[in-house]
Subunit: 403 residues, 2 copies
């Protein structure tokens, strides 16, 4: 490890703290990082010159002593485009260092197959409005993409996204080309990014081992292991929705039978509730309505589905020994109704030791978890090498098509 690597390491340590925990006094930074006051001063100076942090004179004063200036991450210094391709919507946001959201657009779409090209053009239109709002000195550094499907981390290759009708789509490369961002595009699975977001800015802050359970049409899991996303050998880890949990179960879209998601997924819930004509948000609303009316079939459906959900969660707890399990996706909204059977079922599976320390909680970022996770992912190279920040200038998106 060369001296310059040490420098990078320490710049990262400081910036990472600010990015995660927000504004902080210089002296606090020195304490937390264990670095000397003079070193911190020097590091802050460099980060400030790079435009990644800014200092406001001594706003923080508690007790006697010279007031310490407060250092804040500077969102304009490094902003990313976050994009989410979800089951029934597409979303774009601009997010800066420290997690500041400049703007966010979500566009509902019918479920089913969508052309890749048209979808990208739609994203381009949505992004244009957000990019137009950029300040003069605002620096764009890349793009993060969340996809509801199996995505290879390395290059953003979409192996399979049944809910979009995509197969073997080099999405990362396509977006990079379309926006003129080259390889400053990172893509990953929705659940993995939801996990990252809830871990960084949501219900899982402070966890060391986090399991995020994302339910949309299918069920996916995202895992944070020792503070780092667990990617697997090729970035495909977390496909817990297709673990076998009931050999006598229903056939699954994946070709197997009795997968967790065939028992605990949205379709299973809808079928048990006799509401197969509804999907997504409408299904949620319909169910909520019927719960209020104390409809027995709906209550029973929630009971059964919650139980299956809990079995699968129990399995994940035994395997990962997490301190937090976060329920994300659709079921966030049904959490109050699913909670009891889910927790009971999980308890029935979980061994005593891993069961003692775990909390099962509802996600706190709502539908935007994956989108925010995509932003976090795209910001990570900046934090890993603050001095290496390169601004990218997107090619001008096309003018809006006039009617």
């Amino acid at each position: 490890m060369a001296p310059e690597e040490v420098r990078r390491h320490n710049l990262t340590a400081v910036l990472d703290r600010l990015h995660r925990s927000g504004p902080m006094s210089r002296s606090e930074l020195a304490q937390k990082t264990g670095l000397n006051r003079s070193t911190i001063a020097d590091l802050i100076g460099e980060l400030s010159r790079l435009g990644l942090v800014e200092e406001k004179p001594g706003t923080a004063s508690a007790g006697p002593g010279r007031p310490s200036p407060v250092v804040s991450p500077r969102p304009k210094g490094a902003t990313v485009l976050a994009v989410e391709f979800s089951v029934d919507s597409v979303a774009v946001a601009t997010v800066g260092l420290g997690g500041h959201v400049y703007g966010k657009v979500r566009q509902a779409r019918a479920r089913g197959t969508h052309s890749v090209d048209e979808t990208i053009e739609e994203v381009a239109r949505m992004a244009r409005a957000l990019l137009d709002d950029f300040a003069e000195d605002q620096v764009l550094v890349g793009m993060g993409v969340a996809v509801v499907g199996v995505v290879r981390r390395r290059d953003g290759f979409v192996h399979l996204a049944p809910n979009l009708g995509w197969k073997n789509v080099p999405l990362g490369a396509l977006l990079g080309a379309r926006f003129g961002l080259g390889d400053a595009v990172m893509a990953a699975n929705e659940a993995d990014l939801g996990a990252l977001a809830e871990f960084r800015r949501g219900a899982g802050v402070g966890a060391t081992q986090l399991v995020y359970v994302n339910s949309e049409v299918g069920i996916g899991a995202g895992i944070i292991q020792d503070g780092q996303p667990m990617l697997g050998a090729a970035g495909y880890a977390g496909e817990a929705g297709h673990t076998l949990i009931n050999p006598d179960g229903k056939p699954c879209t994946c070709g197997a039978r009795g997968c967790w998601e065939t028992e605990a997924g949205e379709a299973a819930l809808a079928e048990r509730a006799g509401l197969t004509e509804f999907v997504g948000q409408q299904l949620i609303e319909e169910i909520t309505q019927r719960v209020d009316d104390r409809d027995p079939q709906t209550l029973q459906a929630l009971q059964v589905t919650g139980t299956w959900l809990g079995y699968g969660i129990g399995n994940l707890i035994n395997v990962f020994n997490p301190d937090v399990v976060v329920i994300g996706g659709l079921y966030q909204e049904l959490y109050p109704y699913l909670r009891e059977p889910m927790e009971e079922a999980a308890r029935s599976v979980v061994l005593q030791a891993p069961g003692e320390a775990v909390r099962i909680v509802r996600g706190s970022l709502g539908v935007d978890a994956s989108l925010l996770g995509a932003a976090e992912m795209a910001l990570s190279p900046v934090i890993a090498d603050p001095a290496g920040v390169r601004a990218v200038t997107p090619t001008e998106p096309p003018d809006r098509v006039e009617a």
Copy 2:
């Protein structure tokens, strides 16, 4: 990161390479670590003064140029006691840096409850013979312990070890006190350590994401994630044997029903084969015999058990996206018979993407995997801080009891 931490980091980088990959020329070390020739010379000098490596003059000469001396890890410089408390045996070994095994003793025991104190005394007797063989200048640095049960990593507290009849035993502290090793004792689960050993010195060398499936009485998994053992929040990760895989299955010792190990474990196999009076090695031998005789019930039992084994492995592949799955424990020996149904069942569960790159292989370390893993674990503090090595002197174990 202070300068002294940089030094430690680089010492670790060099020693770790030697420990894992064995003897290596100086120039090769420089290449692999990216450090300068002069820096390498300095680091080797320090490690040599610490007694952790030794140089033999230019044995390695390929092509023109000045021959580069070969640097080797020096096992005597840091040796550990490795102990394994398994289902039907206790084992002790002395292992030095680089993985050199000085001696190894395994003592078969009947299954069932064993007194903690007597077991520790037995280990002390076994260890004595090995310690007597120590050379004058051989340095003992600690003890690593593998336990067939649920063990808390931090302090070696045995939460539950049904196969030994132990519950809430502060094993780490007891062993530390008995041997006068204080807190230089580390304990962990058998499967976790089997994973570590196969990853470092067995069938999983070179993997990035490894899943080790250990079958003794129950089934446990050990996971290597990005080259590091995955421990979970409290060190209990990997209890895959108690994941629900068949809701209509048999009751499990854990209180639940349809756990993976009730379907794919040793007891299930024995029952299907009609050999419930045999356990462990005897069961293996009996089965092997009957397979040679083409006994239909045995063949069928292997077919069914292999299938269940494969389902669970498939689940793990979907969740972890490993590049290697290593079959360890009892089933290593039945691997040839289990392989086909296992692989077919796994394939039926695994998604295409994570299934493409994975290899399912038989462990190559045999019954000693966990024991060797315990040694690797106990050696890890030396590698993490080579300059901080402290020799420990075990209290003289009691004289052998004369008959």
